[in-house]
Symmetry: C2
Subunit: 213 residues, 2 copies
């Protein structure tokens, strides 16, 4: 049985190290699980669909009978039964799940808009910029306050931190996180984990131009 994940072998430089295969790779490394990649081109939405992601994105994840998509769902699947990612204590587990979903449904919708505004969709332009920026900063401020001077959101590292670091490090590319030194340190702490480093190296190794034959 081989675990496989879809990832990009080509695309814009900005996708390298930031596409959502990274979240799954990181979780697999934290859980010490081997995997292989099925690589596609960034622009090949049809290929992404044929590889089991209905929205034409990455990642898809396969493991025996399991064939699933959405990085959040895959990371949770991997986290089940991995104490490093998801505590077995019910109260602690519920907190980790809270932060996992907060990263994806409360923080990322606002930070993604900012990335779109700055990088991808300049046509949204100046009218939307002030309120979009304000919304993202408000979310980041709450995460900063919740983190305080702790290393991780609930004291110990969990899947909630894996996802929150993934979301915050992406929007940090446009400088908006600089105003929150504890969040910048949090991102660096996540990126310093050996599992993250292995995931990033594997992501870069797959990401190469020109497209392989």
């Amino acid at each position: 049985m081989t675990r496989t994940v879809t990832a990009f072998h080509s695309g814009p430089e900005g996708a390298k190290g930031n596409a959502r295969d990274m979240r799954v790779r990181w979780a697999l490394e934290e859980a010490a699980l081997d995997y292989e990649t099925r690589t596609i081109d960034f622009a090949s939405h049809a290929q992404a669909r044929s590889e089991g992601q209905p929205f034409g994105q990455i990642p898809n994840y396969r493991d025996g009978e399991i064939d699933m998509f959405e990085s959040g769902a895959i990371v949770l699947q991997i986290a089940e039964g991995c104490e490093t990612l998801l505590p077995t204590d019910p109260a602690a587990r519920a907190r980790a799940l809270s932060w996992l979903f907060a990263a994806l449904n409360t923080v990322e919708p606002t930070t993604w808009n900012l990335l779109m505004l700055h990088v991808i969709k300049p046509d949204w332009s100046d009218a939307a910029r002030p309120s979009m920026t304000e919304a993202a900063i408000a979310r980041l401020r709450t995460v900063s306050e919740a983190l305080g001077d702790k290393n991780w959101l609930e004291g110990r590292f969990t899947v909630g931190d894996l996802m929150m670091v993934s979301v915050v490090r992406h929007v940090a590319l446009i400088g908006i996180v600089d105003a929150f030194p504890n969040l910048m340190a949090y991102v660096k702490r996540g990126e310093a984990r050996p599992a993250f480093q292995r995931a990033l190296a594997a992501n870069h190794a797959d990401f190469r131009e020109p497209q392989p034959a």
Copy 2:
């Protein structure tokens, strides 16, 4: 031991029946679990924080030692051990999780922008409207295609449908789902479930003006 959920007792009419306590109430009704509400005013972000939602939103959920937030996390917590919501078969469970996260991290970020554009943030205005509309329609089209002529995304109802119906019915308020008749039927099918009807009645019963003493 009493399960409790935070919800609104007052606020704009548009929040009635659409705020995220609905998702949790619906899941609790599907799982046949009793609960009580702790109600707050829509605008009382400070009160929402003091009730255990760091971002000043609803819902927070408490059950014995468990104190958690984020409707997605709470719905998943309730779904664990409830075959109606989350199949125990590993492959089917992974599919249900995929749709749960797709609703929250792939579909809702685009539909939420449209709701903001139409209802809350008119300052985003005309520059952003075309690409935001296009993005939401593309996501809805994929859900429509994945659903096809089935009753539910994976054939049988799961927590993935509970969340996808919740997301789609909200944006349906602005008419954009009319172009997808099978999605409109899907929303009506979800809303026709007795558990949804009980959840909606309880939401409306809590939502009353003026604010109670």
